[in-house]
Subunit: 326 residues, 2 copies
Amino acid sequence: MSHSTDSRPFFLDCDTGIDDALALVYLLGAGTNLVGIGSVSGNTSAAQGASNTQALLALAGRTDIPVAVGGHDPLEGSYHGGTTHVHGHNGIGDVQLPEITGTPEAMSAAELLVTMARKYPGELRVIAIGPLTNIAAALRLEPNLPALIAELTIMGGAAIAPGNITAVAEANIHGDPLAAAEVFAANWEIVLVPLDVTMHHVLEEDDRLRLLASEHPALSAVGDMLGYYFDFYIGVFGRPCSAMHDPLAAAIAIGRVEALSAPYARVIVDATDGPGRGQTICDMRGLYKGYPKPAGATCRVVLIAQECAMDEIMHSTLALATNISA
Amino acid sequence: MSHSTDSRPFFLDCDTGIDDALALVYLLGAGTNLVGIGSVSGNTSAAQGASNTQALLALAGRTDIPVAVGGHDPLEGSYHGGTTHVHGHNGIGDVQLPEITGTPEAMSAAELLVTMARKYPGELRVIAIGPLTNIAAALRLEPNLPALIAELTIMGGAAIAPGNITAVAEANIHGDPLAAAEVFAANWEIVLVPLDVTMHHVLEEDDRLRLLASEHPALSAVGDMLGYYFDFYIGVFGRPCSAMHDPLAAAIAIGRVEALSAPYARVIVDATDGPGRGQTICDMRGLYKGYPKPAGATCRVVLIAQECAMDEIMHSTLALATNISA
């Protein structure tokens, strides 16, 4: 893993959220050039998510990164109100961060994304770790967006693994199935990081305690938040730990963790009101022939990532305190 | 594997169909007490399927087993006309069997099933290897059917494996999603044998040639049919062979092949017109905790079967010629 500075511009779209918070401090620790951050309703509301993001950036001394509030409601219907049993009432495990002083950008998250895409045409890389409301809104604002974006990495969905909100639907996609359907229907290079891989990269209590013990206030805060998240995951894994959905997607997006199996597949999203609502229907029928690339497919579905992913995530995150990275 | 006579009464519901044909001669070779057979539209029409079944029974000298024609159309909509590219124009790879002389039962397949369920209350075991039209029709005729049936084994669906008709739907369930939804909603012990397991039990060309070379006319005919089926599967597996969907379900139903992993799971069927139509939505979220039995679940989903399944299927099928079994 090279820790030289990566000057490529990245846009982060998130619903901060406990694992979003870790993804953010991870990206900062890894020295990622974040040119903008959008918030979207998901784990918590878009407004609360922006506030959480700004508070973490302040703790990290990075108020230079613009944060824009994104869609409160999905493209159709109303926001469900958040997953308080997983992420707490404020999205970050009810941990209280210092009051923020700055205000978010005047423009919306979708507008900020389009602005940055035009500023860095063909270079901007997008990491979407919440519902895809803002990405779809940006697509509607700028239909040429796919040509302006180098790569879109999405944490979401489930290919052949079970869902986590329903038997087949994952929370981010289920949060705005119509937006997801529009995003997957557009013609851009997508790297999908679904539950198939994220459920196999788990942060353990030892790791959490290392974060909690950090002298860096952003890291100790995230360590604190993770206690709430771990409590929820006892019901899933039977022990205090948690799947690292968003940090894993971030690590793959910035190239610090390699996808060992990521076949191209056609992906459509079930936006009906039926029992499959919110499912990423990934056509994995090439399974029995080694996944030949289907004609026209532009989405790679990550099924296996490097085993060392958690080591990299912990290493680069802790680097935020020691400044060995950026 | 014991080859003593099994006197338990079984009802077979099928859409004969090349792998149905092998399942039928397998069950006869294994000495299964088949008290009735229903046909349903799927691989071929219900009428053609009944005719194919009767012709095979005649070749096997078993015209004593009653055959009833079942539903031509699914509960809603119209029959799609068959999968001629997989099963040929007559359902059995365009192999010509001797003209049948008998006629099917006057009653429908659903009526025959209800009749047999009442004759063997609590004892009858049902093996459903086609769309579930007849099983749902029987449920509508006799709402108490689940209490009369000891066990219902279904070949169909996909739990975490890809589908075969769409990315998520398997042919039998996709053939009549509404019927399947009603069947899975009823309160009976179901053993679901989905693509997750059937795609891993494959008949090879050597096996087919042994059947083709048999002196028993039913076996050589099935060996002949399988040539057509194998040609289709080259597109799936890259070599002439075929998954043994229906024979595997039959072997599990009669207890000759053991399910090594068959967790209980809640199963609902997507009967919408959306992209998930025909999917068996199996709630496999217990995966990460060793699949504890969900409250109220009565369906076991077979994920792994004994490796020796194909040996058993070939052995018992060939026994039809040598009479070492029944």
